[in-house]
């Protein structure tokens, strides 16, 4: 493999800082839970559906528990307790509460209830494990696709159109289909329900939409003889619930960043750190590959000046991922090809960054994002920017390759935009397939020096963050030039302290160490 000469000790030091940074945050957040974590817990236990006003039952239940001052004990024991009393199912309990015919209270026999929680949760975990096994079986049957994997998005707003376009894209050679979410869903404090046909800039993430697309892709996989991975957005105010839905419906990847919501959606910091831990735990258990969102930094910050913030953030995301039990292969750490195309030697700096990231995370499933902010209405030039992005990806052996669209600056992809993007990547990846093994970077050359400089800055930045703590650093706007206060942003009202007897059966079942 093409290699740059980097100081491994420097890399290790940076990683250590990141580990301590993430650990500190984790410790701070441990005493808290959130309404969304509890709703996710209920969904994992089998609660689904909406009331007559279309309000999801998990929300109705959690609101009830809040009204009754019970949520701090954990939704699971209270609801499972009621289930035992009523001799019913959790779903029936939820429906009764929604109908107003049942009022929940603290369960009498805590020990008994916890045992029941573990049993119920165990059954659900078995189902998720079965989905994971099904995925692995399918991949074993078809054989794994050659990397970089072609990742395309569909975003018609209508799940049925999405299905058509996803099928076509898979036939053309796409390995991964991401259904982009409707603008603003991330700020909804509930998950919409059922098949949806009206979205803006994307399609709502609902369990039914997950199911429809999954079925379509499994069916297509048989025809094209490749397993087609399905991706959605495990982010926003409902991060944990989406994780639960994805685990149940066998999604394969989730955009699931530890800080994106804070920075780009002004979602409260504590809410996000608590939610991301739980959701990543679920993703880890379900064998889902997460994608982080460092690429977004470069949409507001300059790709050259902010290069080190991307690497620092990746190291932090990696450490949060470890805490949730994700393996390196499950870490789709994000970065992007966003240097101004007018910059002389810009291509060299892109190569330096991509290769640096490759070497700092040798086992990760790196996610490489295409040019977006410097794309213009000139689709012909745009197609070339995407081609050079494809060249860098092949040369530096990225894993998850999100296809650039020549119409990036204009509209969400038309079917032909995606078709031509797939052709672009397939042509480039095939014609220079072994190039990565053929070229070496000049020792002490401009590319190597650039990579070393970025690594230096990353080390310094992480040291500083470790000193002041991550929340303070975010307060100073180190990432994406956007500053957020710990008690600002949406969803803080959904954060609550756990009671001493707080109980949730899933961490024990899902975390490798059992906690």
């Amino acid at each position: 493999m093409t290699r740059l000469h980097l100081d491994q000790r420097q890399i290790d030091r940076a990683r250590e800082s990141a580990r301590r940074i993430a650990g500190a945050v984790r410790a701070q957040m441990e005493p808290y839970t959130t309404t969304s974590v509890e709703r996710a817990t209920l969904r994992l236990l089998g609660v689904d559906g909406v009331d007559e006003n279309g309000v999801p039952l998990p929300n109705r239940l959690v609101e009830h528990l809040q009204a009754e001052d019970l949520l701090a004990h954990g939704a699971a024991p209270v609801v499972i307790g009621a289930m035992l009393e009523q001799q019913s199912t959790v779903q029936q309990v939820a429906e009764a509460v929604a109908a107003g015919t049942l009022r929940l209270r603290r369960p009498a026999n805590a020990r008994l209830v916890r045992a029941a929680c573990d049993e119920e949760a165990g059954k659900r975990c078995a189902q998720i494990a079965a989905q994971r096994a099904a995925r692995e079986a399918a991949i074993a049957r078809f054989g794994e696709a050659r990397t970089p994997w072609l990742y395309v998005i569909v975003a018609t707003g209508n799940i049925h159109e999405d299905v058509k376009q996803a099928r076509a894209a898979a036939e053309q050679g796409a390995d991964i289909i991401a259904v982009i979410r409707s603008t603003g869903q991330s700020l909804l404090d509930y998950v919409p329900y059922g098949a949806t046909t009206e979205g803006f800039g994307g399609t709502y993430a609902t369990q039914e939409n997950f199911r429809l697309m999954r079925a379509a892709l499994d069916e297509t996989a048989d025809r094209v003889g490749r397993y087609i991975r399905l991706t959605n957005y495990c982010s926003g105010l409902c991060m944990p619930e989406i994780a639960a839905m994805g685990a149940i419906e066998r999604l394969d990847m989730m955009l699931n960043d530890s800080m994106y919501g804070i920075i780009f959606r002004d979602i409260n910091l504590q809410r996000t750190f608590i939610d991301q831990f739980f959701s990543r735990m679920v993703n880890a258990f379900a064998g889902i590959i997460i994608n982080t969102g460092e690429d977004n930094y470069l949409t507001t910050a300059d790709a050259c000046e902010a290069a080190h913030t991307v690497l620092a953030s990746q190291l932090i995301n990696e450490q949060f991922a470890c805490l949730s039990g994700l393996t390196p292969e499950q870490m789709g750490l994000g970065h992007a090809f966003e240097i101004d195309p007018e910059m002389t030697n810009g291509f060299l700096w892109e190569v330096a960054q991509a290769q640096l990231v490759r070497q700092v995370f040798p086992a990760a499933s790196l996610k490489y994002m295409p040019p977006t902010r410097h794309m213009t209405g000139n689709i012909f030039r745009g197609h070339l920017q995407d081609a050079l992005f494809n060249v860098v990806s092949a040369l530096t052996q990225q894993n998850i390759h999100l296809l650039g669209m020549m119409t990036e600056a204009i509209h969400t992809p038309l079917i032909q935009d995606r078709f031509l993007a797939v052709q672009n990547a397939r042509y480039v990846f095939n014609t220079l397939r072994d190039l990565h093994a053929e070229v070496e970077f000049k020792r002490g050359g401009q590319i190597e020096r650039r990579a070393q400089a970025v690594l230096d800055e990353t080390g310094h930045l992480l040291a500083r963050i470790e000193e002041i703590g991550l929340p303070a650093a975010i307060g100073q706007g180190v990432f994406a030039d956007i500053a957020r206060r710990p008690d600002g942003g949406r969803g803080l009202d959904g954060v609550l302290a756990k009671a001493d007897d707080y109980f949730n059966p899933f961490p024990r079942l899902m975390l490798p160490g059992g906690h």
């Binding site: 058509k164 076509a168 603003g184 700020l187 803006f200 800039g201 949409t299 902010r373 079917i415 032909q416």
Partner: protein, 255 residues
């Protein structure tokens, strides 16, 4: 004005050469290929030639066509509506404001409703600015308040009232399914309802926004790509001057 008829140009004046590409929702075959050619012909292309046709799977096919456009336009007859103002630089604007208003001009801006694309409005408002053009925050004679992303129209209006805003700046970048039209209309109606519409200068911008569109939606001006703070500022102060003049006018008559 003398007519000036224009046709697309390939390699000879008035040859009308154009390139076209599109998808048809049908698998590729001779019929489909001919359908593509006929569509191009209907668009007014002579000697339309399908130079590339490719099946896309799932009952779709892709076409690239070249042809000679029969249509022509008279350049001399074309009118484009654009916000009218003399473009001043930062200092020029500041001078004009203090001279004519004798106080700071208050500007409240936001990226409304579900739209989270702040880079555009930030480019206009934030200190830093864009491409070396400083933003409104850096103007001494302006109080620029940028509310940022995904601001509900209601909140924007409330804030505008609190701050006694002279100018409201709105950014809309996502246009899919024409969501921006709904959002912008909604805001305009709210301002109407609050009786604020006449009192504020209402400006919208975004990559797909044209002045024409803005006018249709009842805004005072619309700005598209490659706009800089000084454009907006220059327009705002000129518009303010015009209005006060008008109002004075009205006043006199009133007495």
């Amino acid at each position: 004005m003398a007519e000036q008829w224009l046709k697309p140009y390939g390699d000879t004046l008035d040859d009308g050469r154009v390139q076209l590409s599109f998808t048809l929702p049908v698998a590729l075959d001779e019929q489909a290929r001919e359908a593509a050619r006929q569509l191009a012909a209907m668009m007014g292309l002579d000697e339309a030639a399908v130079v590339h046709a490719e099946d896309m799977g799932q009952g779709f096919s892709f076409y690239i066509v070249y042809g000679q456009c029969r249509h022509r336009v008279d350049l001399a007859a074309i009118k484009v509506s654009r916000p009218d103002y003399a473009r001043l630089d930062k200092d020029g604007v500041d001078r004009l404001i203090s001279e004519k208003m004798g106080r700071k001009m208050v500007v409240v801006g936001a990226c409304i409703e579900s739209d989270a694309h702040t880079v555009g409005i930030d480019a206009i408002m934030n200190m830093k600015g864009y491409n070396g053009h400083k933003g409104l925050e850096s103007y001494h004679q302006m109080r620029a308040i940028n509310l940022g992303a995904q601001v509900d129209s209601e909140d924007l209006v409330v804030r505008a009232i609190e701050e006694k805003a002279d100018v409201i700046l709105v950014s809309q970048v996502v246009t899919q399914k024409n969501i921006h039209l709904d959002n912008l209309t909604r805001l305009a109606d709210l301002l109407e309802a609050e009786g604020l519409r006449e009192r504020v200068i209402l400006i919208v911008g975004g990559p797909r926004i044209s002045h024409e569109l803005a006018k249709e939606l009842g805004y005072d001006a619309g700005f598209g790509s490659k706009t800089y703070a000084e454009d907006v500022a220059s327009f705002a102060i000129h518009e303010w001057i015009k209005r006060t003049a008008r109002q004075k006018g009205v006043h006199h008559v009133g007495n």
